[in-house]
């Protein structure tokens, strides 16, 4: 693998520079084809097929049979590139496709996700990443198993990791299936398997090394695909060159229009579609502030406990590089998250403000029903315009839409060329694929390294370990695709659950493992088991119709889990003897950046 060693790392800037230029050239080529009369469908297929082919090529070039390269990309990923890879790993189909739509319909309350999914990185940087990097582990359960000692602690961490990541990955495979089905015009159930094939092509041959370099490539695609349509729309509609700093007036105007039109529930709901009933700029209802804060807290603690994110920081050359790359990760993530509210606000204004040519609310029903974009999306059942009060005029509560099409429909609402819609599809695919890859790898690595190698067969040789890892990757991917094809959960609900599971079971055992020298094995096991069990039990209780306690619904069950986990861990630790001398010295070593890693380089 001459290309990835030395040679590639020395030229990394140039390689990705050429790649970015090539992608922009491809977009321009597609725009020219569109002008020449090539159909919208063909352009959509070309966008998705071309980008997946590139990722697969990178995955093949990065194939490896070395343990270090497979698990932690040889620990030589530069901080900035690890930041990009983490950003792609992090921003899922939910962030890319569903977030702006969620803000559009969920209004202010929904923005707890934005605060939670950025603020969590402060916790990652302060409490976790540098110390786990110093530790020198391959996986998150590796840290738990070594710090607390014993197979039981390691096994508990594996269980929490698998449940949280598996919940998350089904949602991502669902998203790849949805996009593949739309762009390639195949049924959803085939789209899911097609998406899985693309995901496995990236990760199977090269493990973490291949996933790292494809995720960098996927970040570049997804951030271009998110920013270009918003900035283009803003310029085309006269909202300013860079809309982010100037949409304040728009937000204020929307608040005024909401009062004028009235935020009323529809006379008759349309199943699966939403109507705008929540205010855009402020909290509303009982416990609104409490709900916001608890959701944000669950997402933040979940961010700092999700293994597919933490393991990205095991790939940097040093502790300082790990910290630096957390900062870059957040900056790259921030670019998308501070764009999402701008996108939601401007799209909403375009539909609501009667002084704009794109407005539909207050127009005659017939006129609106003849708009091309309304017809496109109505025909697939994602949108509906019904004159429920019979006055022939479209009211705010007569316009129904599926929240997760807001991002996809925005270019059409603003009248942008189709090439932008193709670009958005490629971006959504990149976002969902990159997250799915990171998650599948986290699960397969925990099972192959921690369960198989550390617990079941510690004498297994390298080739066997890596074959086991790959077989598990395929099996877990197939299981996730099978569940995704049954469409049991919505994308967003499943994502929030994954964060709550991880926060319930892993947050305190990980954080206190570094920050509380006294923390011992029985305490950690109690924290993981009771936190995870109580969180899951509470989820079951609310999900099956129980009355939420203090407004803690199924998106916020992590609060219950984390509280139990903390209390259980502290109480049990204090009731049992302090950890031995050796463990205490290990914690001391973990806290200092220099010196040998706790775990040997190849373990």
């Amino acid at each position: 693998m001459a290309m990835i060693k030395g040679n590639f790392l020395d030229n990394i800037g140039r390689v990705y520079g050429i790649y970015t230029g090539g992608f922009i050239a491809f977009i321009i080529l597609m725009a020219i084809l569109e002008q020449m009369g090539v159909g919208a469908d063909t352009i959509g297929i070309l966008f998705v097929a071309f980008t997946i082919a590139i990722y697969a090529l990178i995955g093949w070039l990065s194939r490896t049979m070395e343990v270090d390269a497979y698990y932690v990309a040889g620990r030589q990923v530069p901080a900035v590139y690890n930041g990009m890879a983490t950003a792609a790993d992090w921003m899922s189909g939910a962030s890319f496709v569903a977030l702006a739509g969620g803000i559009y319909f969920g209004g202010y309350g929904y923005m707890a996700f934005i605060v939670g999914w950025t603020g969590g990185y402060v916790l990652v940087n302060s409490l976790m990443a540098p110390y786990l990097r110093k530790f020198g582990c391959y996986t998150v359960p590796d840290f738990v198993g070594t710090r607390y000692g014993g197979n039981l602690a390691r096994f508990c961490a594996v269980v929490v990791l698998v449940v949280a990541s598996f919940t998350y990955v089904t949602a991502q495979i669902n998203a790849t299936g949805t996009i593949a089905a739309r762009a390639l015009h195949i049924p959803f159930s085939y789209g899911v398997w097609f998406g899985l094939l693309g995901i496995l092509l990236c990760s199977m041959l090269g493990g973490m090394r291949a996933v790292t370099w494809t995720q960098v490539a996927q970040y570049i695609v997804l951030i271009i695909a998110y920013l270009v349509p918003v900035i283009w729309m803003s310029n085309a509609q006269g909202f300013g060159i860079i809309p982010h700093f100037t949409y304040g007036e728009a937000a204020t105007t929307i608040a005024g229009l909401e009062t004028q039109y009235g935020l009323n529930p529809p006379a008759e709901a349309v199943p699966g579609l939403s109507v705008l009933t929540t205010p855009h700029t402020g909290p509303v209802g009982d416990l609104a502030e409490w709900k916001f804060v608890t959701l944000a807290l669950c997402m933040m603690a979940g961010t700092a406990s999700l293994p597919h994110i933490l393991m990205r920081y095991f790939t940097t050359p040093s502790v300082r590089a790990a910290r630096k790359s957390v900062a870059w990760s957040l900056l790259f993530i921030f670019l998308l998250y501070f764009t999402a509210p701008a996108l939601a606000t401007l799209t909403k204004l375009q539909l609501l403000d009667p002084s704009l040519p794109t407005a539909i609310i207050g127009k005659s029903i017939e006129e609106v029903q003849n708009l091309a974009w309304i017809q496109n999306w109505s025909s697939v059942g994602f949108l509906s315009v019904v004159d429920q009060n019979g006055d022939g005029i479209l009211q705010l509560n007569e316009f129904f839409m599926r929240p997760d099409i807001v991002v996809l429909a925005t270019p059409e609402i603003a009248g942008l060329p189709y090439v932008i819609s193709g670009l958005v599809a490629a971006g959504g695919m990149a976002a969902a694929m990159s997250t799915a890859d990171g998650l599948l790898l986290a699960i397969a690595n925990a099972l192959s390294h921690d369960l198989y190698y550390k617990i079941i067969d510690p004498k297994a040789d390298t080739a066997v370990r890596l074959i086991v890892a790959r077989v598990l990757l395929v099996v877990i991917g197939a299981a996730a695709a099978l569940i995704a094809s049954m469409q049991l959960t919505g994308i967003l609900g499943a994502v929030a659950w994954a964060f709550c599971f991880a926060a319930s079971g892993l947050f305190f055992p990980l954080a206190l493992g570094v920050w509380w020298k006294r923390a011992n094995t029985p305490g950690a096991i109690a924290g993981m088991v009771l936190g995870f069990a109580s969180g899951s039990a509470y989820l079951y209780y609310v999900y099956t119709g129980g009355t939420p306690w203090m407004g803690l619904d199924h998106l916020r069950f992590g609060i219950v889990g984390m509280a139990t986990s903390l209390v259980a861990m502290v109480v049990v630790t204090l009731l049992t003897p302090a950890p031995d001398e050796e463990t205490q010295r290990m914690v001391d070593e973990t806290r200092v950046p220099t010196g040998p890693a706790i775990l040997a380089a190849k373990h």
Partner: protein, 91 residues
Amino acid sequence: MSGEHAQLSDEARDRYWSKTRSLTIVVLVLWFFFSLVIPWFVSSLNSVNFLGFPLGYYMIAQGSLIAFVVLIFFQNWRQDQIDEEFGVADE
């Protein structure tokens, strides 16, 4: 990866950790303020106008996010200084 192991005396190690811990506490207090205190008072903040935005909405949509980014870069800059002071910078 990290060169020679700096021999820290126990006393230096304690001072290093107490400085690191203080920095972390400062960072977490600021984190708490921007992520959890501001949303608590968003309604009253919304009566203030900032760059055309209602201030509370602005903080949630952008202000707190910018604060997080700045906070992490600040923390790393400070932590690098502490590491260098004790000769434990690993690059």
